[in-house]
Protein backbone atom coordinates (compact mmCIF):
# COMPACT_ATOMS: atom_id res chain seq x y z
CA UNK A 1 0.00 0.00 0.00
CA UNK A 2 3.02 2.29 0.02
CA UNK A 3 2.54 5.16 -2.35
CA UNK A 4 5.66 7.16 -1.78
CA UNK A 5 7.55 8.45 -4.74
CA UNK A 6 11.03 9.85 -4.60
CA UNK A 7 10.58 12.87 -6.78
CA UNK A 8 10.16 16.15 -5.03
CA UNK A 9 11.37 19.67 -5.50
CA UNK A 10 10.87 20.64 -1.92
CA UNK A 11 12.95 19.32 0.88
CA UNK A 12 12.20 18.78 4.46
CA UNK A 13 14.35 20.25 7.13
CA UNK A 14 14.41 19.53 10.78
CA UNK A 15 13.09 22.29 12.93
CA UNK A 16 14.35 21.59 16.38
CA UNK A 17 11.81 23.60 18.29
CA UNK A 18 10.39 20.63 20.07
CA UNK A 19 13.50 19.78 21.96
CA UNK A 20 13.34 23.10 23.71
CA UNK A 21 9.77 22.91 24.83
CA UNK A 22 9.33 22.50 28.52
CA UNK A 23 7.66 19.42 29.84
CA UNK A 24 4.19 20.44 30.84
CA UNK A 25 2.63 17.96 33.17
CA UNK A 26 2.31 14.37 32.08
CA UNK A 27 -0.25 11.69 31.68
CA UNK A 28 -1.33 10.23 34.96
CA UNK A 29 -1.92 6.57 35.46
CA UNK A 30 -5.61 5.84 35.66
CA UNK A 31 -6.78 4.58 38.99
CA UNK A 32 -8.75 1.39 39.40
CA UNK A 33 -8.44 0.25 35.81
CA UNK A 34 -8.25 -3.49 35.16
CA UNK A 35 -5.02 -4.60 33.50
CA UNK A 36 -5.06 -4.21 29.74
CA UNK A 37 -5.39 -7.32 27.61
CA UNK A 38 -2.22 -9.11 26.51
CA UNK A 39 -0.43 -7.15 23.82
CA UNK A 40 -0.66 -8.51 20.32
CA UNK A 41 0.73 -7.78 16.91
CA UNK A 42 -2.40 -5.90 15.95
CA UNK A 43 -4.19 -5.08 19.22
CA UNK A 44 -3.59 -1.97 21.32
CA UNK A 45 -5.22 -1.51 24.71
CA UNK A 46 -7.98 1.09 25.03
CA UNK A 47 -8.80 2.74 28.33
CA UNK A 48 -11.87 4.87 28.89
CA UNK A 49 -11.07 7.19 31.77
CA UNK A 50 -10.97 10.89 32.61
CA UNK A 51 -7.99 11.63 30.40
CA UNK A 52 -4.65 13.17 31.35
CA UNK A 53 -6.10 15.95 33.46
CA UNK A 54 -9.35 14.23 34.49
CA UNK A 55 -12.88 15.27 33.66
CA UNK A 56 -13.11 13.78 30.17
CA UNK A 57 -16.34 11.81 29.76
CA UNK A 58 -16.68 8.88 27.34
CA UNK A 59 -13.19 9.28 25.93
CA UNK A 60 -11.42 6.17 24.57
CA UNK A 61 -7.66 6.51 24.98
CA UNK A 62 -4.62 4.60 23.74
CA UNK A 63 -0.87 4.90 24.07
CA UNK A 64 0.92 5.86 20.87
CA UNK A 65 4.66 5.56 20.39
CA UNK A 66 6.23 8.11 18.05
CA UNK A 67 9.82 7.84 16.85
CA UNK A 68 12.19 10.04 14.93
CA UNK A 69 11.84 8.54 11.42
CA UNK A 70 14.11 5.61 10.83
CA UNK A 71 15.53 5.61 14.34
CA UNK A 72 14.85 3.93 17.66
CA UNK A 73 14.61 7.32 19.36
CA UNK A 74 11.05 7.16 20.52
CA UNK A 75 8.58 8.47 23.06
CA UNK A 76 5.30 6.95 24.15
CA UNK A 77 2.42 9.40 24.49
CA UNK A 78 -0.42 8.25 26.74
CA UNK A 79 -4.06 9.32 26.60
CA UNK A 80 -4.42 9.85 22.87
CA UNK A 81 -8.11 9.90 21.95
CA UNK A 82 -9.29 7.20 19.53
CA UNK A 83 -11.38 9.07 16.95
CA UNK A 84 -13.13 7.21 14.14
CA UNK A 85 -14.57 10.56 13.00
CA UNK A 86 -11.29 12.06 11.81
CA UNK A 87 -8.08 11.00 10.12
CA UNK A 88 -4.49 11.49 11.22
CA UNK A 89 -2.48 11.63 14.42
CA UNK A 90 -2.40 14.94 16.29
CA UNK A 91 -0.25 15.32 19.39
CA UNK A 92 0.18 18.21 21.75
CA UNK A 93 3.71 19.44 21.12
CA UNK A 94 3.97 20.11 24.85
CA UNK A 95 3.80 16.35 25.43
CA UNK A 96 6.45 15.40 22.87
CA UNK A 97 9.36 16.28 25.10
CA UNK A 98 12.15 13.74 24.72
CA UNK A 99 12.43 13.44 20.95
CA UNK A 100 12.68 15.88 18.03
CA UNK A 101 10.39 15.19 15.12
CA UNK A 102 11.29 16.68 11.73
CA UNK A 103 8.91 19.41 10.68
CA UNK A 104 8.02 19.64 6.99
CA UNK A 105 9.03 22.78 5.15
CA UNK A 106 9.59 24.08 1.66
CA UNK A 107 12.88 25.04 0.05
CA UNK A 108 12.58 28.59 1.40
CA UNK A 109 12.31 27.36 4.95
CA UNK A 110 8.60 28.02 5.32
CA UNK A 111 7.16 25.41 7.64
CA UNK A 112 4.02 23.46 6.80
CA UNK A 113 1.17 24.00 9.26
CA UNK A 114 -2.18 22.30 9.63
CA UNK A 115 -5.49 23.75 10.80
CA UNK A 116 -8.37 21.42 11.62
CA UNK A 117 -11.75 22.21 13.11
CA UNK A 118 -13.93 19.85 15.04
CA UNK A 119 -17.68 19.78 15.44
CA UNK A 120 -17.60 21.46 18.85
CA UNK A 121 -16.14 24.64 17.40
CA UNK A 122 -12.63 23.81 18.54
CA UNK A 123 -9.61 24.22 16.31
CA UNK A 124 -6.19 22.55 16.37
CA UNK A 125 -3.25 24.42 14.88
CA UNK A 126 0.37 23.39 14.52
CA UNK A 127 3.26 22.16 12.39
CA UNK A 128 3.13 19.08 10.24
CA UNK A 129 5.95 16.77 11.30
CA UNK A 130 6.90 13.25 10.35
CA UNK A 131 7.21 10.31 12.70
CA UNK A 132 7.36 6.57 12.70
CA UNK A 133 4.16 5.72 14.57
CA UNK A 134 4.12 2.47 16.51
CA UNK A 135 1.14 0.77 18.12
CA UNK A 136 1.09 -2.86 19.23
CA UNK A 137 3.31 -4.53 16.59
CA UNK A 138 2.39 -2.16 13.78
CA UNK A 139 4.53 0.62 12.33
CA UNK A 140 3.49 3.58 10.16
CA UNK A 141 6.79 4.81 8.78
CA UNK A 142 7.55 8.46 8.11
CA UNK A 143 3.95 9.51 8.49
CA UNK A 144 2.77 13.11 8.62
CA UNK A 145 1.26 14.10 11.96
CA UNK A 146 0.14 17.39 13.42
CA UNK A 147 2.11 18.83 16.34
CA UNK A 148 -0.55 20.86 18.11
CA UNK A 149 0.60 24.32 19.21
CA UNK A 150 4.06 23.98 17.70
CA UNK A 151 5.95 26.23 17.36
CA UNK A 152 5.26 28.11 20.55
CA UNK A 153 2.29 30.50 20.33
CA UNK A 154 3.38 33.91 19.16
CA UNK A 155 6.09 32.68 16.78
CA UNK A 156 3.71 33.75 14.06
CA UNK A 157 0.04 34.64 14.13
CA UNK A 158 -2.50 31.94 13.51
CA UNK A 159 -4.03 32.88 10.16
CA UNK A 160 -7.46 34.47 10.22
CA UNK A 161 -8.85 31.58 8.20
CA UNK A 162 -8.10 29.22 11.07
CA UNK A 163 -10.63 30.19 13.69
CA UNK A 164 -12.43 28.56 16.55
CA UNK A 165 -11.65 27.76 20.14
CA UNK A 166 -7.94 27.15 19.98
CA UNK A 167 -7.23 23.99 21.95
CA UNK A 168 -3.49 24.09 22.47
CA UNK A 169 -2.94 22.48 25.88
CA UNK A 170 -3.96 19.55 28.05
CA UNK A 171 -6.18 21.96 29.93
CA UNK A 172 -8.14 22.97 26.83
CA UNK A 173 -7.99 19.76 24.78
CA UNK A 174 -8.49 17.38 27.69
CA UNK A 175 -6.28 14.77 26.00
CA UNK A 176 -2.65 14.50 24.89
CA UNK A 177 -3.70 14.10 21.30
CA UNK A 178 -6.17 12.65 18.83
CA UNK A 179 -5.64 9.43 16.87
CA UNK A 180 -7.82 9.82 13.77
CA UNK A 181 -8.58 6.31 12.49
CA UNK A 182 -11.68 7.19 10.48
CA UNK A 183 -12.79 5.94 7.06
CA UNK A 184 -10.41 8.22 5.14
CA UNK A 185 -6.66 7.92 4.59
CA UNK A 186 -6.00 11.68 4.75
CA UNK A 187 -7.39 14.57 6.73
CA UNK A 188 -8.10 16.59 3.61
CA UNK A 189 -7.48 14.52 0.50
CA UNK A 190 -7.97 15.79 -3.03
CA UNK A 191 -9.66 19.00 -1.84
CA UNK A 192 -6.25 20.19 -0.64
CA UNK A 193 -4.33 18.84 -3.62
CA UNK A 194 -5.84 19.22 -7.06
CA UNK A 195 -7.24 22.72 -6.63
CA UNK A 196 -6.45 26.37 -7.15
CA UNK A 197 -8.50 27.33 -4.11
CA UNK A 198 -7.41 25.14 -1.21
CA UNK A 199 -9.64 25.16 1.88
CA UNK A 200 -8.28 26.59 5.15
CA UNK A 201 -6.41 23.43 6.15
CA UNK A 202 -2.73 23.74 5.16
CA UNK A 203 -0.50 26.82 5.42
CA UNK A 204 3.12 27.67 4.82
CA UNK A 205 4.41 29.92 7.58
CA UNK A 206 7.47 31.95 8.35
CA UNK A 207 8.26 34.43 11.06
CA UNK A 208 8.79 37.10 8.43
CA UNK A 209 5.74 36.87 6.23
CA UNK A 210 3.28 34.97 8.39
CA UNK A 211 1.12 32.18 6.97
CA UNK A 212 -0.34 31.62 3.52
CA UNK A 213 -2.65 28.89 2.26
CA UNK A 214 -1.10 26.07 0.31
CA UNK A 215 -2.01 22.84 -1.38
CA UNK A 216 -0.39 19.61 -0.20
CA UNK A 217 -0.07 16.38 -2.13
CA UNK A 218 -1.93 13.29 -1.00
CA UNK A 219 0.16 11.15 -3.33
CA UNK A 220 -0.89 8.46 -5.76
CA UNK A 221 -4.33 8.13 -4.13
CA UNK A 222 -4.99 11.62 -5.45
CA UNK A 223 -3.28 11.02 -8.79
CA UNK A 224 -0.40 13.22 -7.70
CA UNK A 225 3.12 12.21 -8.66
CA UNK A 226 4.43 13.97 -5.56
CA UNK A 227 4.53 11.84 -2.41
CA UNK A 228 1.76 12.17 0.13
CA UNK A 229 2.57 14.77 2.78
CA UNK A 230 -0.90 15.31 4.26
CA UNK A 231 -1.66 14.34 7.84
CA UNK A 232 -2.45 10.67 7.35
CA UNK A 233 -4.43 8.01 9.14
CA UNK A 234 -1.55 5.95 10.61
CA UNK A 235 -3.37 2.68 9.90
CA UNK A 236 -3.29 3.46 6.16
CA UNK A 237 0.51 3.64 6.39
CA UNK A 238 0.97 0.34 8.24
CA UNK A 239 2.75 -2.28 6.14
CA UNK A 240 -0.06 -4.74 6.93
CA UNK A 241 -3.38 -4.74 8.78
CA UNK A 242 -3.86 -1.40 7.06
CA UNK A 243 -7.43 -1.48 5.72
CA UNK A 244 -9.24 -0.33 8.86
CA UNK A 245 -9.75 -0.78 12.59
CA UNK A 246 -12.06 -2.40 15.10
CA UNK A 247 -12.93 -0.66 18.35
CA UNK A 248 -13.98 -3.21 20.98
CA UNK A 249 -15.41 -2.11 24.30
CA UNK A 250 -17.45 -4.05 26.86
CA UNK A 251 -21.08 -3.31 27.65
CA UNK A 252 -21.85 -1.04 30.59
CA UNK A 253 -25.13 -0.63 32.40
CA UNK A 254 -25.61 3.01 33.26
CA UNK A 255 -22.29 4.35 34.38
CA UNK A 256 -18.85 3.17 35.44
CA UNK A 257 -15.60 4.70 36.61
CA UNK A 258 -13.45 3.36 33.78
CA UNK A 259 -13.43 0.74 31.04
CA UNK A 260 -10.88 -1.34 29.14
CA UNK A 261 -11.03 -2.57 25.57
CA UNK A 262 -9.07 -3.02 22.36
CA UNK A 263 -8.18 -1.14 19.23
CA UNK A 264 -7.58 -3.86 16.65
CA UNK A 265 -5.82 -3.07 13.39
CA UNK A 266 -6.89 -4.57 10.10
CA UNK A 267 -10.17 -6.13 9.00
CA UNK A 268 -10.15 -9.70 7.75
CA UNK A 269 -6.37 -9.86 7.87
CA UNK A 270 -5.81 -11.87 11.07
CA UNK A 271 -7.62 -14.46 13.15
CA UNK A 272 -8.79 -11.75 15.57
CA UNK A 273 -10.25 -9.26 13.11
CA UNK A 274 -12.60 -11.20 10.82
CA UNK A 275 -15.74 -9.47 9.64
CA UNK A 276 -18.49 -11.91 10.70
CA UNK A 277 -21.18 -12.65 8.16
CA UNK A 278 -23.91 -11.56 10.59
CA UNK A 279 -22.37 -8.11 10.97
CA UNK A 280 -24.44 -5.09 9.97
CA UNK A 281 -22.41 -3.40 7.23
CA UNK A 282 -23.20 0.23 6.47
CA UNK A 283 -21.65 1.42 3.24
CA UNK A 284 -20.72 5.10 3.44
CA UNK A 285 -21.59 7.76 0.87
CA UNK A 286 -19.19 10.32 -0.58
CA UNK A 287 -19.39 12.31 2.65
CA UNK A 288 -18.81 9.18 4.78
CA UNK A 289 -22.40 9.10 6.00
CA UNK A 290 -25.27 6.59 6.10
CA UNK A 291 -28.97 6.90 6.99
CA UNK A 292 -30.55 6.59 10.41
CA UNK A 293 -34.34 6.46 10.71
CA UNK A 294 -35.39 8.07 13.96
CA UNK A 295 -38.75 9.42 15.13
CA UNK A 296 -40.17 8.83 11.66
CA UNK A 297 -37.48 10.96 10.04
CA UNK A 298 -34.79 9.63 7.72
CA UNK A 299 -31.47 11.28 8.59
CA UNK A 300 -29.13 10.63 5.61
CA UNK A 301 -26.05 12.37 7.09
CA UNK A 302 -25.61 10.00 10.03
CA UNK A 303 -22.30 8.59 11.22
CA UNK A 304 -20.58 6.53 13.91
CA UNK A 305 -17.86 8.48 15.71
CA UNK A 306 -15.85 7.23 18.69
CA UNK A 307 -14.63 10.79 19.19
CA UNK A 308 -18.11 12.07 20.00
CA UNK A 309 -18.91 11.37 23.59
CA UNK A 310 -22.63 10.70 23.42
CA UNK A 311 -25.61 10.06 21.18
CA UNK A 312 -26.45 13.26 19.33
CA UNK A 313 -29.58 13.73 17.27
CA UNK A 314 -32.07 16.42 16.21
CA UNK A 315 -33.87 18.19 18.97
CA UNK A 316 -37.59 18.76 18.83
CA UNK A 317 -38.14 21.29 21.58
CA UNK A 318 -37.31 24.19 19.33
CA UNK A 319 -39.22 23.11 16.25
CA UNK A 320 -41.83 20.63 17.39
CA UNK A 321 -40.05 17.74 15.65
CA UNK A 322 -42.41 14.84 16.24
CA UNK A 323 -41.50 12.17 18.73
CA UNK A 324 -38.52 13.86 20.28
CA UNK A 325 -39.16 16.60 22.78
CA UNK A 326 -36.38 15.83 25.21
CA UNK A 327 -35.47 18.94 27.21
CA UNK A 328 -32.00 20.36 26.72
CA UNK A 329 -30.04 20.91 29.94
CA UNK A 330 -29.39 24.38 31.28
CA UNK A 331 -25.95 25.95 30.84
CA UNK A 332 -23.21 24.77 31.07
CA UNK A 333 -24.58 21.38 29.97
CA UNK A 334 -26.66 22.84 27.14
CA UNK A 335 -25.04 20.56 24.57
CA UNK A 336 -26.70 17.62 26.37
CA UNK A 337 -30.21 16.36 27.09
CA UNK A 338 -31.91 16.39 30.47
CA UNK A 339 -35.05 14.23 30.38
CA UNK A 340 -36.81 13.83 33.75
CA UNK A 341 -36.00 10.12 33.87
CA UNK A 342 -34.14 7.43 31.95
CA UNK A 343 -35.99 7.25 28.61
CA UNK A 344 -35.76 4.42 26.04
CA UNK A 345 -35.49 5.11 22.31
CA UNK A 346 -34.97 3.14 19.14
CA UNK A 347 -33.62 3.97 15.72
CA UNK A 348 -32.68 2.05 12.57
CA UNK A 349 -29.44 2.39 10.66
CA UNK A 350 -29.78 1.85 6.93
CA UNK A 351 -27.49 1.58 3.95
CA UNK A 352 -28.13 -0.43 0.82
CA UNK A 353 -29.77 -3.70 1.84
CA UNK A 354 -28.72 -3.31 5.48
CA UNK A 355 -31.38 -2.33 8.02
CA UNK A 356 -30.18 -2.47 11.59
CA UNK A 357 -32.42 -1.55 14.54
CA UNK A 358 -30.70 -0.05 17.59
CA UNK A 359 -32.11 0.40 21.07
CA UNK A 360 -30.65 2.96 23.45
CA UNK A 361 -31.64 5.05 26.43
CA UNK A 362 -31.11 8.64 27.47
CA UNK A 363 -30.65 9.86 31.01
CA UNK A 364 -30.58 13.27 32.66
CA UNK A 365 -27.09 14.65 32.09
CA UNK A 366 -27.18 17.07 35.03
CA UNK A 367 -28.02 14.16 37.33
CA UNK A 368 -25.51 11.80 35.72
CA UNK A 369 -22.67 14.24 36.28
CA UNK A 370 -23.79 15.35 39.75
CA UNK A 371 -24.41 11.87 41.12
CA UNK A 372 -21.29 10.25 39.64
CA UNK A 373 -18.49 12.78 40.02
CA UNK A 374 -15.79 10.09 39.84
CA UNK A 375 -17.16 8.25 36.82
CA UNK A 376 -16.07 8.78 33.23
CA UNK A 377 -18.18 6.14 31.46
CA UNK A 378 -21.81 7.11 30.77
CA UNK A 379 -23.87 4.77 28.58
CA UNK A 380 -26.94 7.00 28.43
CA UNK A 381 -25.38 10.35 27.57
CA UNK A 382 -26.98 12.25 24.70
CA UNK A 383 -27.54 15.72 23.36
CA UNK A 384 -29.01 17.81 20.53
CA UNK A 385 -27.57 17.91 17.03
CA UNK A 386 -28.99 20.57 14.78
CA UNK A 387 -32.20 22.46 15.36
CA UNK A 388 -34.73 19.76 14.51
CA UNK A 389 -37.48 20.15 12.00
CA UNK A 390 -38.00 18.03 8.90
CA UNK A 391 -34.93 16.82 7.08
CA UNK A 392 -35.29 17.32 3.34
CA UNK A 393 -33.39 18.55 0.33
CA UNK A 394 -33.76 22.18 1.32
CA UNK A 395 -33.23 21.70 5.04
CA UNK A 396 -30.17 19.64 5.85
CA UNK A 397 -29.57 21.21 9.24
CA UNK A 398 -31.28 18.32 11.03
CA UNK A 399 -30.21 15.36 8.97
CA UNK A 400 -27.66 13.67 11.23
CA UNK A 401 -27.58 11.09 13.96
CA UNK A 402 -24.14 11.07 15.57
CA UNK A 403 -23.50 7.68 17.18
CA UNK A 404 -20.79 8.50 19.69
CA UNK A 405 -18.78 6.36 22.07
CA UNK A 406 -21.75 4.94 24.07
CA UNK A 407 -22.73 3.13 20.85
CA UNK A 408 -19.41 1.27 21.07
CA UNK A 409 -20.11 -0.09 24.56
CA UNK A 410 -20.88 -3.77 24.09
CA UNK A 411 -20.02 -3.81 20.38
CA UNK A 412 -17.14 -4.43 18.03
CA UNK A 413 -17.31 -1.54 15.60
CA UNK A 414 -15.45 -1.83 12.28
CA UNK A 415 -14.28 1.19 10.29
CA UNK A 416 -12.92 0.35 6.82
CA UNK A 417 -10.76 2.92 5.03
CA UNK A 418 -11.79 4.38 1.67
CA UNK A 419 -9.85 2.98 -1.27
CA UNK A 420 -9.28 -0.46 0.16
CA UNK A 421 -10.30 -3.68 -1.56
CA UNK A 422 -13.62 -5.34 -0.76
CA UNK A 423 -13.88 -7.32 2.48
CA UNK A 424 -16.45 -10.12 2.44
CA UNK A 425 -18.12 -8.35 -0.46
CA UNK A 426 -18.26 -5.01 1.34
CA UNK A 427 -16.42 -2.19 -0.40
CA UNK A 428 -14.75 0.45 1.80
CA UNK A 429 -15.47 2.98 3.04
CA UNK A 430 -17.90 1.32 5.42
CA UNK A 431 -18.67 0.96 9.09
CA UNK A 432 -19.95 -2.30 10.52
CA UNK A 433 -20.87 -3.79 13.88
Amino acid sequence: MKRITMRSFLTLIVVGALGFLAACGGGGTPVGVPPPPPPGQNAAAITVDGGPVGGYVNGAFVNVQVCQPGTSTCQTIDHVLVDTGSSGLRLLASQVTTITLPVLSDSSGNTLNNCVNFLDGSVLWGNVAQADIKMAGEVASATSIQLIANPAPGTYSIPVGCTGMNEDSQQTLGTNGILGVGPEAFDCGASCDNTSTPPPVYYLCSTGTGCVLTTVSCGASCNDIQPNAQVTNPVFNFSGDNNGVIVELPAVTGTAATLSGNLIFGIGTQSNNALPSNTAVLQLDSNDNFSTVFSGETLPMSFIDSGSNGYFFPNGVESGFAGNNIPICASPNDSFYCPATLTPFSATNQSGSTSSPINFSIDNTDNLFALNPNNFVFTDLAGPLGPGGPCNSTNTMSCSFDWGLPFFYGRSVFTAIDGGTAINGATPPFVAY
Binding site: S8, L12, G51, G59, D83, G85, L104, D106, L112, V116, N117, F118, L119, D120, G121, Q130, V139, A142, G161, T163, G164, T172, G174, T175, G180, G182, C188, G189, S191, D193, T197, P198, P199, V201, V212, L213, T215, V216, D224, A229, S239, N287, D288, F303, G307, F312, E318, S319, S331, D334, S335, F369, G383, P384, G386, P387, G389, N395, T396, M397
Partner: protein, 157 residues
Protein backbone atom coordinates in the same frame (compact mmCIF):
# COMPACT_ATOMS: atom_id res chain seq x y z
CA UNK B 1 10.91 -0.45 5.74
CA UNK B 2 13.89 1.33 4.32
CA UNK B 3 12.38 4.66 3.63
CA UNK B 4 14.55 6.85 5.75
CA UNK B 5 15.51 9.06 2.85
CA UNK B 6 12.05 9.11 1.47
CA UNK B 7 10.76 10.78 4.55
CA UNK B 8 12.83 13.84 3.83
CA UNK B 9 10.64 15.06 1.07
CA UNK B 10 7.59 17.21 1.13
CA UNK B 11 5.43 17.68 -1.88
CA UNK B 12 3.43 20.79 -2.31
CA UNK B 13 1.26 20.43 -5.36
CA UNK B 14 1.02 24.04 -6.39
CA UNK B 15 1.89 27.57 -5.54
CA UNK B 16 0.90 29.43 -2.47
CA UNK B 17 -2.18 31.61 -2.40
CA UNK B 18 -1.80 34.86 -0.55
CA UNK B 19 -4.88 36.73 -1.64
CA UNK B 20 -7.24 35.45 1.01
CA UNK B 21 -5.43 37.10 3.82
CA UNK B 22 -5.20 40.54 2.34
CA UNK B 23 -8.89 40.94 3.06
CA UNK B 24 -10.08 42.46 6.31
CA UNK B 25 -12.30 40.36 8.53
CA UNK B 26 -15.52 42.29 8.75
CA UNK B 27 -18.89 41.80 10.32
CA UNK B 28 -21.25 39.45 8.56
CA UNK B 29 -23.85 38.29 11.06
CA UNK B 30 -25.58 41.53 12.05
CA UNK B 31 -23.81 43.36 9.24
CA UNK B 32 -25.17 44.78 6.01
CA UNK B 33 -25.32 43.34 2.50
CA UNK B 34 -21.81 44.57 1.72
CA UNK B 35 -20.47 42.13 4.29
CA UNK B 36 -21.86 39.27 2.21
CA UNK B 37 -19.56 40.25 -0.61
CA UNK B 38 -16.64 40.39 1.76
CA UNK B 39 -17.46 36.86 2.90
CA UNK B 40 -17.73 35.79 -0.72
CA UNK B 41 -14.31 37.26 -1.48
CA UNK B 42 -12.88 35.64 1.63
CA UNK B 43 -13.74 32.13 0.47
CA UNK B 44 -13.22 32.98 -3.22
CA UNK B 45 -16.75 31.83 -3.86
CA UNK B 46 -19.48 32.44 -6.37
CA UNK B 47 -22.66 34.22 -5.29
CA UNK B 48 -26.30 33.46 -6.05
CA UNK B 49 -29.18 35.49 -4.64
CA UNK B 50 -32.78 34.35 -4.15
CA UNK B 51 -35.70 36.11 -2.47
CA UNK B 52 -38.30 34.46 -0.29
CA UNK B 53 -40.82 35.76 2.20
CA UNK B 54 -39.37 38.64 4.17
CA UNK B 55 -35.75 38.01 3.38
CA UNK B 56 -33.17 37.44 0.67
CA UNK B 57 -30.78 34.50 0.67
CA UNK B 58 -27.28 35.11 -0.60
CA UNK B 59 -25.73 31.74 -1.37
CA UNK B 60 -21.95 31.52 -1.62
CA UNK B 61 -20.43 28.44 -3.23
CA UNK B 62 -16.72 27.74 -2.81
CA UNK B 63 -14.21 24.92 -2.87
CA UNK B 64 -14.33 21.86 -0.59
CA UNK B 65 -18.09 21.51 -1.12
CA UNK B 66 -18.61 24.78 0.72
CA UNK B 67 -22.08 26.35 0.65
CA UNK B 68 -22.64 29.41 2.85
CA UNK B 69 -26.08 31.02 2.94
CA UNK B 70 -26.53 34.47 4.38
CA UNK B 71 -30.08 35.58 5.22
CA UNK B 72 -30.67 39.29 4.72
CA UNK B 73 -33.81 41.01 6.01
CA UNK B 74 -35.74 43.73 4.17
CA UNK B 75 -33.78 46.39 6.01
CA UNK B 76 -30.56 44.97 4.62
CA UNK B 77 -29.16 43.23 7.70
CA UNK B 78 -27.70 39.72 7.86
CA UNK B 79 -29.79 38.00 10.55
CA UNK B 80 -28.73 34.39 9.95
CA UNK B 81 -26.00 32.31 8.34
CA UNK B 82 -25.85 28.62 7.50
CA UNK B 83 -22.95 26.55 6.23
CA UNK B 84 -22.17 23.17 4.72
CA UNK B 85 -18.57 22.30 4.00
CA UNK B 86 -15.90 19.65 4.27
CA UNK B 87 -14.28 22.08 6.71
CA UNK B 88 -15.78 24.58 9.09
CA UNK B 89 -15.59 28.05 7.50
CA UNK B 90 -13.87 30.99 9.14
CA UNK B 91 -16.23 31.79 11.99
CA UNK B 92 -14.52 35.04 12.83
CA UNK B 93 -15.32 36.22 9.32
CA UNK B 94 -18.91 34.92 9.31
CA UNK B 95 -19.90 35.84 12.85
CA UNK B 96 -18.20 39.22 12.84
CA UNK B 97 -19.04 41.11 16.03
CA UNK B 98 -20.82 38.02 17.38
CA UNK B 99 -17.67 35.92 17.32
CA UNK B 100 -16.63 36.71 20.88
CA UNK B 101 -20.06 35.81 22.19
CA UNK B 102 -19.79 32.47 20.40
CA UNK B 103 -16.29 31.87 21.73
CA UNK B 104 -17.24 32.74 25.30
CA UNK B 105 -20.33 30.49 25.24
CA UNK B 106 -18.37 27.62 23.74
CA UNK B 107 -15.67 28.01 26.36
CA UNK B 108 -18.27 27.98 29.14
CA UNK B 109 -19.61 24.65 27.89
CA UNK B 110 -16.15 23.18 28.21
CA UNK B 111 -15.99 23.93 31.91
CA UNK B 112 -16.57 20.96 34.16
CA UNK B 113 -16.36 18.14 31.64
CA UNK B 114 -14.19 17.70 28.61
CA UNK B 115 -15.92 16.37 25.57
CA UNK B 116 -16.03 16.53 21.82
CA UNK B 117 -19.57 16.76 20.60
CA UNK B 118 -21.88 18.89 18.45
CA UNK B 119 -22.09 22.46 19.67
CA UNK B 120 -25.44 23.94 20.65
CA UNK B 121 -25.46 27.49 21.97
CA UNK B 122 -28.88 28.89 22.87
CA UNK B 123 -28.56 32.42 24.16
CA UNK B 124 -31.07 35.28 23.95
CA UNK B 125 -28.66 37.17 21.72
CA UNK B 126 -27.21 34.34 19.65
CA UNK B 127 -28.12 30.82 18.57
CA UNK B 128 -25.23 28.76 17.19
CA UNK B 129 -25.45 25.11 16.14
CA UNK B 130 -22.73 23.05 14.54
CA UNK B 131 -22.42 19.36 13.77
CA UNK B 132 -20.97 16.73 11.48
CA UNK B 133 -17.49 15.29 11.24
CA UNK B 134 -14.24 15.90 9.39
CA UNK B 135 -15.08 16.39 5.69
CA UNK B 136 -18.80 16.80 6.39
CA UNK B 137 -19.69 19.78 8.57
CA UNK B 138 -22.78 21.93 8.72
CA UNK B 139 -24.37 24.45 11.02
CA UNK B 140 -26.18 27.72 11.45
CA UNK B 141 -26.08 30.89 13.50
CA UNK B 142 -28.72 33.55 13.94
CA UNK B 143 -29.65 36.50 16.09
CA UNK B 144 -33.20 35.84 17.39
CA UNK B 145 -34.11 39.50 17.79
CA UNK B 146 -33.14 40.23 14.18
CA UNK B 147 -35.24 37.45 12.60
CA UNK B 148 -38.00 39.26 10.65
CA UNK B 149 -41.58 38.87 11.79
CA UNK B 150 -43.32 35.95 10.15
CA UNK B 151 -40.05 34.12 9.50
CA UNK B 152 -39.69 30.80 11.29
CA UNK B 153 -36.43 29.53 12.70
CA UNK B 154 -37.06 26.52 10.47
CA UNK B 155 -36.61 28.79 7.45
CA UNK B 156 -32.95 29.13 8.43
CA UNK B 157 -31.58 26.00 6.90
Amino acid sequence: MKILEKSFFLALASAVLMLLFALPASASLGGDVASVHQDQAHVKGTLKTTSAKAFTVHEINASAKTVIKEYVSADGKVFAITWHSQFIPNMQQLLGSYYQQFADAAATQREGHYSHRPLNIQQPGLVFQNGGHMRSYYGRAYVPAMVPQGVSKDDIR
